[in-house]
Symmetry: C2
Subunit: 164 residues, 2 copies
DNA sequence: TATTGTTATACTCTATAACTATA
DNA sequence: TATAGTTATAGAGTATAACAATA
């Protein structure tokens, strides 16, 4: 209905992107678990790389209920990956900050994951890789624009990626 | 290290694919939850569309421990989405089969998800969509071949996609 | 009164280990 | 003895509702 069926050696665009997504998601899951991290724990550490948000802001950034974030941060704090710091401005507020250990862990996991994705693309010549990057960027920019977001304004000041 | 940094309006190939993966994964999650399905429940129903596997085979297909599959199938059966059928060949074996309700649910969720991904690509002209499909297919085929799998031999007889 | 965060509770998902029934 | 599946148990992750402390 939505497009041509797959031929002998090419998937439909929908199947191709769906399979690629599962492949990349699984790669991240595997790399994270080598450090005993789940995907959500990795995302938690990821968003803390260039932020020191309150529990409330964290809930919004991760798309979770605040009570879920309490448990998430509890477990990460118990492992020494993050610390809770009382805010000096509002005594109701708790800020969450990465420890050196947490930063080291997320840096390793990210670097390995990026290497995995790079390796996955080794079968393509550089010109084809650039072509994919350009086309996918257009899709992402259009999608972000459709919800009133500038994709490039959301990247942290140090340029850390927005995906983990 | 692994490639050029992102420029003003284009992401690096790794960032682009990682973000796209999270976007597509989130889309599937949202669509599934409209039918009160988790991603793993959707995958369960998906693999049953053209198979009637034993619990053991199901565990292998989903990459889960057999005890996890017991609970998964319990909950799906309680909702009337699947049924357990005793095997006539081996009285230890239990086969799992989709009910009409389960089939209807997974068909709706899949169709909506495919439409979502199609919509996401509306910003590209058909020639660019074909280009992405071709390039991504090459990546997936190369990856499958590297682990000794023929990507196109794994698709079910009715051609249902392998991703859900 | 409104907001921030935690607690209590319940459910899904996952794995390991022990168990039952069958081969 | 080996295999198929379930049960017991433990823990992560999630949400809703009720709560305490602060604004």
């Amino acid at each position: 209905m939505t497009g041509p069926a797959a031929t002998r050696d090419e998937l439909s665009i929908v199947d191709a992107l769906a399979q690629l997504s599962f492949l990349i998601h699984g790669t991240l899951e595997r790399r994270a678990s080598e450090h005993d991290l789940s995907i959500i724990q990795t995302r938690l550490l990821g968003v803390l790389r260039d932020r020191r948000p309150s529990m409330n802001e964290l809930a919004r950034l991760l798309g979770l209920d605040k009570s879920s974030v309490t448990g998430l941060v509890d477990r990460a704090e118990r492992r020494g990956l993050v610390v809770r710091v009382p805010s000096t401005e509002d005594r109701r507020t708790v800020l969450v900050s990465l420890t050196d250990h947490g930063r080291s862990l997320v840096s390793q996991a990210s670097a390995q994951f990026e290497a995995d994705v790079s390796t996955l693309l080794d079968c393509l010549p550089p010109s084809d890789r650039d072509a994919i990057a350009g086309l996918v960027s257009r899709v992402l920019v259009a999608h972000a624009a459709a919800r009133g977001v500038d994709l490039f304004a959301t990247v942290g000041t140090q340029g850390s990626p927005t995906w983990p």
